[in-house]
Each structure stands twice: as structure tokens, then as C-alpha cells.
Symmetry: C2
Subunit: 133 residues, 2 copies
């Protein structure tokens, strides 16, 4: 994929007209790299949840950030927002098929992290050991 990726992302020598497309790719990639996106997606992977439930489910996320993340994910078509006109109000969020597909793609990275995390930690310690000499 490296060649393909660079073909998409490399800005050198491409027509100015094409740069806009590249910006967009970066943009979509940034969505995945977002601090909370992955957590929200994975929280919804097993089924729809309402706002409050998500807030409990995802430890450490602030009210504000959950709102923003949900809004932008909805905007991207990764999840649906369905409000119920009740009292008190209730809003349910659910993954779209697109959202599910992203979840699957991301799961590979999550598994990598789970598998190799100890190794990375060790490497950091070893590195700092040498640097600290």
C-alpha cells in the first residue's frame, strides 16, 4: 500500500487542481486519528446507544467533546442520530453500514496495539536507558 498511499498523499509535482483531493484524504485520515473517534465507533459497534450511555461508556470524555465527536461522525455518515420527542428527551446513536466498515478497518490497528504494546514499552525504556547515560 505504501506506493498507493504515497501516490495519493505526495504533493510533489502534482497539479494544483489535484491538491484539493489530497487535502481531503488527509482530512478523512484525521478523522480516524482523532482522539475520540475510535472509542465512539467501537462503543457503538455492538449496538445503538443514547447520549448518556455513551458518556458513561467512554471513560474520560467530556460532555463537549462527545457532542462534537458525535456531530462530526454523523456529518461524515458514519452514524445516525435519531431523537425522540419525549420528556425528558432521548437521542439514540447507531453505526451506519459505513461506520461498521470503518470499525472493521480500524480493528486491525487496535489488535496491533494490543499485541505489540508491551514490546513498544520495552523499547522506550531501553531507549531512555541509553539516552539517559
Amino acid at each position: 500500500m505504501d506506493a498507493a498511499l504515497r501516490a495519493e498523499l505526495d504533493l510533489r509535482g502534482v497539479s494544483p487542481d489535484c491538491r484539493q483531493t489530497i487535502e481531503l484524504v488527509r482530512d478523512v485520515l484525521a478523522r480516524v486519528g482523532d482522539k475520540w473517534t475510535v472509542l465512539v465507533i467501537s462503543a457503538l459497534a455492538s449496538g445503538p446507544l443514547r447520549f448518556g450511555a455513551l458518556h458513561e461508556e467512554i471513560a474520560g470524555i467530556s460532555h463537549r467533546m462527545l457532542t462534537r465527536t458525535l456531530r462530526s461522525l454523523t456529518r461524515d455518515g458514519l452514524l445516525t442520530r435519531t431523537p425522540y420527542a419525549e420528556m425528558p428527551p432521548r437521542v439514540e446513536y447507531a453505526l451506519t453500514p459505513l461506520g461498521h466498515s470503518l470499525n472493521e478497518a480500524v480493528s486491525g490497528v487496535v489488535r496491533w496495539v494490543q499485541k505489540h504494546q508491551p514490546e513498544v514499552i520495552d523499547n522506550r525504556l531501553a531507549f531512555d536507558q541509553v539516552a539517559g547515560t
Copy 2:
């Protein structure tokens, strides 16, 4: 993976002793989410490159950020740094096996972006259309 991910990342009701582990997982995930990490990894996927070459290859990265990214990736054991005592100096960076494995994991996400990016763009336009009413 959703269950597994939440099992790893969810902070509710876990012993304080375990939270440290969770912090580390987030930490490693952040490495992947870093703005430049993926680009550097993919640039090196096809073979070793020296600092200057990377700087050309990765459009838009600043001198400072390339240095920092390379250093932290080296620290994580994702790539090796081999300086040559010449004049002028030359330093080559190459992916380690661990780095290659990460590259493969990430490639799934990159492919997802490449495939679904147009769809996401459309969704955004449609969303803004309605919102702008």
C-alpha cells in the same frame, strides 16, 4: 474487537492499578493517530531513506516535526537510525520488523479511506446542505 477494545480501554470499575496499563494503550494508539507517523512509516515501507530524502518525500512536513517524529518512532522501536561518520553527515532510517507489522495494520485503514473517501465527502455536503437550511 469492540468488546476487546472496550475491555482494554474502558476505565469504569477497574482497579486503579490497572489504569496505568490503559493509559499505555491510549498512548500507543496516539502514536498511530499522530499527524505524521503514518506518512513516515509508509514512506519507509519500500526501503531505507536518509533524512533529506524523507523531507522531500513527505510533502509539507517541517524540519522540526520530521526530526521529532523520527526520534519518537526510533524510540518506540519502529525504525532504526544509522548515522555514517562522513562529511557531510548522512543518516539512514529504516523500518524494523515491528515497524513493518504496524505498516501492514495501518494499511487497512488507509485502504478504507481511499475507498470510502468520496462517500464521506458526499455525506458531508449533504449534511451541510440540510444544516444550512
